[in-house]
């Protein structure tokens, strides 16, 4: 089968609503005003030859292939830079044009290797295609002249090669890096014949440059100059399947390009409504884990965590798991069992796990990893607006005049959306960043935040209240909006509270560490700068006042009328791919799908009638409560799908103690993760490439996940859960995930109109999708809040009990980095380790100097919970008194240091504030070495020698 590229219209679409009619090669065509002649021609299927044009880039007009003739116009203008006009008559193929194009193509080919048959882009090369299109038959200049054929190949990037000998200097890669990604890493170096693409300075290779490996340049390249190594190794794909990325909450749509059952590459899909054809290094390239040798493909069991694993057949694994769960229920009672759903798994899989717990285990002891990330979002937005989700679609940012980014680092955590933010900022939107660190958004090429408020960790509520103080006391609140849309009495209570002098920026400055004048200026900009949108992340939620901070954000949006239309809103940037979906699907112990409380008898009856069971009306245990109950000896069995709580959850020693106290831990995962060290049953999982289902991204967009290869373990994850349920005696007979979605739609009002058929037809839908919103809901709360009137909540600043002192004088905050994802289970098994082989501790130069530490030194990081050692990175990116690290590597186990303090409303851990001390170290701590030995021992498999 021949490789088929996604259609390229040459130049971006015009958004004009005015239509222009012209004639191209004798055919009338009507297009929006502002459309180029090239795109108008493409709209009617006429492919004007081109090399430097692509419909995701601004027209450049350099290759001179796309020339056309226009009646009444002089010369042969480039169709990519010529806008249509009413009555225009265009000719795309004339003897004059053909001669010109052949002449241009001759020049290109005279300096290009003639190795088409052995070239990795053979049959996927626009230069090759255009040479054929213009009818090139010979090159009059010969091939012996001065050329670029001897330039060196750059193979430094782990995922793609740069072969300058094949470059035609069309600048598409440079423009993609600038316009699409916004990194500005590439340039055209030199002039005239010496012009060449360069990754930064002449001495830089791609790996050593500012390049973030998003792949935009590779996608843009019309030749084999920038080429995926996988294509070089495997060959061109021969089929493709459109599916959704399984990394962050942006939810990029990709074309999984296959050769047989082998994935060749992931190419961002231009029609994807979340990513609009862009990608990042994780989704584009870091999929090698899917076929990594570490994957466990056979079920395994063991009586004790001190035993080696024993591989068994599926039937034995399910029978053993069911017998253990039944034994424990009979011995300790139904409430001794529980389950954890995964934000990495599909909606359908998540729904089944919570159903298994509620209908099979007979309790509500089900929780999800959103407990440790965005549970405060659910609480805070439901309280204030009435629904537990962000208010906007990603396209909304195109209409924002001001962006307030708080506690989020989108260029690392949500890079594809960050590129869209940066594009809007380059167009003139203003930026406010509230973050203890100087994140890349604060200052990067062509981007500079208007205001950066580098607050002390743990003082979000104080800063937001001080902003509210400024807005209210300076008369900047939108009273008309508040009177129309919100509870006026509650607003007045709130306004009186924030107006109190104790909440002024000046009074709170000693607490927050923020310059009051800068804070006031930021507040004024947010309130008066036009459409203002708030984007936030885990730097908001993972605090003892996480829920209060979310409500403080909602207060600000309501007070300024920045809610209920495009360009504004409150936007939680979700961490994992399906955090939103896992929450929607009833993964919390107090809620059924669609956020209906378990005590709601009417909602419960719907499920009871459908499932034919009685449901417990009492809320179940949250993850930290499960672990506490396990330590108390009353919680004995846990089914964990697709999460690694031992590495991701706080206070590692306590998590380990809880797991060790259980009699049956079932881990359902791709790899023997850290939690599996304490497991008795291992059920192999399947990757997103191996199953059908849906993910819901941060903009509530439900998107299809489609099977592109057979599960290596033989079963998709939903089938594993179903088999376990059947072994427990439940009469489940789903034959396809579409049937699970039908059940979800039947039982969940906000999903009532969702089905696989509609998703296949429409690509994606944003909930609510129901009779009131049959086509979905890109922007929420347009005509009123879901709860009726918006609720202002007084959010008094309550300092965390985690305090610095003589023993632990520094504040640790944790986060993630671009190249890794969450606990790193996937990305550590890819070449992404080239960028981040280990967790590092960022420390300010003055704090480092006070301790006699240098860049690269081993340091001990100690808190009242525990200690670990890692290498130091001395940088002024963090403020004095603050240190920062990531949690991607189990060798570090950064969470051995984090504490059991958590959000008051949801128990979301306070990862972002831990009092610590840093000191010199000569290597890993004793705890790390013990942990490493224990992990190695726990991973033994009978009959399989350790490597």
């Amino acid at each position: 089968m021949t490789y088929v590229r996604q259609n390229d219209f040459g130049t971006p679409a015009s958004l004009s609503e005015e239509t222009v009619t012209l004639t191209i090669d004798g055919r009338a065509v009507s297009v929006p005003k502002g459309t180029t002649v090239m795109r108008a021609a493409a709209e009617i299927g006429t492919a004007i030859p081109k090399l430097c044009a692509s419909d995701n880039l601004k027209a450049f007009g350099s290759c001179r292939l796309c020339l056309v003739e226009i009646d009444g116009a002089r010369g042969t203008p480039a169709s990519c830079t010529t806008p249509v006009a009413g009555g225009m008559v265009v000719h795309t193929e004339t003897p004059r044009l053909q001669k010109l194009r052949r002449g241009v193509m001759e020049l290109y080919i005279s300096d290009h290797p003639l190795d088409c048959l052995t070239c990795s882009a053979n049959n996927d090369c626009e230069l090759q295609d255009q040479a054929a299109a213009v009818g090139l038959r010979d090159v009059r200049y010969g091939y012996e002249g001065e050329n670029h054929l001897a330039l060196d190949l750059d193979t430094s990037n782990p995922y793609f090669d740069f072969d300058p000998s094949k470059c035609i200097a069309c600048s598409r890669c440079v423009r993609a890096c600038d316009e699409v990604q916004g990194t500005f890493a590439l340039t055209i170096e030199g002039r005239g014949f010496e012009s060449k693409v360069s990754a930064g300075l002449g001495s830089d290779d791609f790996l050593g440059s500012e390049c973030v490996s998003c792949g935009a340049c590779v996608q843009a390249c019309p030749t084999a100059t920038l080429q995926e190594k996988s294509v070089k190794e495997i060959g061109l794909p021969d089929r493709s399947v459109v599916t959704t990325c399984a990394y962050c909450g942006v939810g990029c749509t990709f074309r999984a390009e296959m050769r047989g059952e082998q994935l060749v590459r992931m190419v961002p899909w231009k029609d994807g409504k979340a990513n609009r054809g862009h990608s990042c290094v994780k989704g584009r390239f870091a999929w090698g884990y899917a076929q990594h040798a570490d994957r466990i493909l056979k079920p395994m069991i063991r009586a004790s965590i001190n035993d080696p694993w024993r591989e068994v057949e599926w039937d034995e694994a399910f029978a053993y798991a069911a017998s253990e769960l039944k034994r424990i229920a009979a011995t300790y009672g139904d409430k001794a069992l529980g389950g954890i759903t995964s934000s990495r798994c599909t909606n359908e899989e998540t729904f089944l796990v919570q159903k298994l717990v509620r209908a099979g285990f007979g309790n509500n002891n089900v929780d999800t990893c959103a407990r440790v990330c965005h549970s405060p979002t659910g609480y805070g937005l439901k309280t204030t607006f009435g629904t537990s989700a962000g208010t906007q679609d990603f396209d909304s940012v195109e209409q924002s005049d001001v962006m307030l980014v708080i506690g989020a680092n989108p260029t690392d955590g949500h890079p594809v959306f960050a590129s869209r933010m940066k594009r809007r900022l380059r167009q003139g939107a203003k930026l406010i960043v509230i973050d203890p660190r100087r994140t890349d958004l604060v200052r990067s090429p062509h981007i500079e935040a208007e205001h950066h408020l580098p607050l002390r960790p743990g003082t979000n509520v104080a800063v937001l209240t001080a902003m509210a103080h400024t807005i209210v006391t300076e008369g900047l609140a939108d009273e008309a909006f508040i009177r129309e849309r919100c509870d006026w009495d509650e607003y007045q209570d709130w306004a009186a509270f924030v107006s109190d002098a104790k909440n002024s920026p000046e009074t709170l400055a000693p607490v927050t560490g923020v310059d009051p004048a800068e804070l006031r200026a930021a507040a004024r900009l947010y309130a008066t700068g036009g459409n203002a949108a708030i984007y936030y992340g885990l730097g908001v939620t993972e605090h003892s006042q996480g829920s209060s901070t979310v409500m403080a954000i909602a207060n600000l949006a309501m007070a300024t009328g920045n809610i209920g239309r495009p360009g504004v809103g409150v936007n939680p940037l979700r961490g994992q791919n399906n955090v939103q979906g896992a929450c929607d699907m009833g993964s919390f112990p107090h809620e059924l799908s669609g956020y209906r409380h378990i005590s709601d008898a009417a909602a419960r009856k719907l499920f009871e009638d459908d499932w034919g069971v009685h449901l417990d009306p009492e809320p179940g245990l949250r993850i930290p409560n499960m672990l506490d109950a396990a330590v108390d000896g009353v919680f004995k069995a846990l089914y964990v799908q697709g999460e690694d709580i031992l590495q991701s959850d706080p206070d590692t020693k306590h998590v380990a103690a809880g797991l060790a106290a259980m009699e049956c831990v079932i881990v359902h995962d791709l790899f023997l993760n850290e939690t599996a060290n304490y497991a008795h049953i291992f059920l192999p999982g399947s990757t997103f490439l191996e199953k059908d289902g849906t993910f819901t991204n941060a903009e509530r967009r439900i998107q299809p996940v489609r099977k592109v290869m057979s599960p290596l373990n033989g079963l998709s994850d939903w089938e594993v859960t179903q088999r376990l349920a059947q072994a427990m005696g439940l009469d489940w007979n789903y034959t396809h995930p579409a049937e699970i979605m039908d059940e979800i739609a039947r039982l969940t009002p906000s999903f009532a109109g969702v089905s696989f058929d509609r998703l296949d037809a429409e690509g994606s839908m944003q909930w609510p999708v129901n009779d009131a919103a049959p086509d979905g809901t890109p922007v929420m709360h347009i005509d009123g809040f879901v709860r009726g009137r918006g609720k202002f909540v007084v959010t008094d600043y309550v300092p965390t009990d985690e305090r610095t002192g003589p023993r632990f004088p520094l504040l640790l905050t944790t986060g993630r980095i671009l190249s890794h994802y969450n606990v790193g289970a996937q990305t550590r098994r890819t070449a992404n380790v080239a960028w981040h082989p280990e967790d590092l501790l960022e420390i300010h130069p003055s704090d480092a100097e006070n301790r006699g530490l240098k860049d690269g030194d081993w340091v001990k990081l100690a808190s009242r919970s525990g200690e670990t050692a890692l290498r130091a990175l001395v940088t002024d990116r963090v403020a004095p008194g603050v240190v920062y690290t990531t949690f991607h590597h189990p060798a570090t186990q950064a969470n051995v240091v984090t504490t059991d303090y958590s959000d008051w409303a949801t128990n979301c851990p306070e990862y972002k504030v831990t009092a610590v001390q840093i000191s010199a170290s000569n290597g890993p701590t004793d705890w790390q070495e013990d942990y490493s030995r224990q992990s190695e021992r726990a991973r033994r498999i009978e009959g399989i020698a350790a490597e």
Binding site: F497, S544, P619, D628, D900, A905
Partner: protein, 73 residues
């Protein structure tokens, strides 16, 4: 902290953050605990309250009194 100490801490923390509710603070705190705590946690904290409630703040104590009253009703 052991499990009971954590529950005391949590109850105090919830009550402290809901203090701004004024006259409604005890009711709101009680409703929060009823809505989000599992039966064993509620039972443990109420037993602790019945035994004198050492470590509970006045606000938490007032709220748990309402939880107790509702449980007994």
């Amino acid at each position: 902290m052991n499990s009971l100490e954590k529950l005391v801490y949590m109850a105090n923390q919830i009550a402290r953050n809901l203090e701004t509710e004024g006259d409604k603070a005890a009711d709101t705190t009680a409703a929060h605990i009823v809505a989000f705590w599992d039966p064993r946690m509620k039972s443990m904290i109420l037993s602790h309250l019945d035994a004198g409630g050492e470590g509970l703040s006045p606000a938490a104590r007032a709220a748990l009194g309402k939880v107790r009253a509702a449980a007994d009703a």
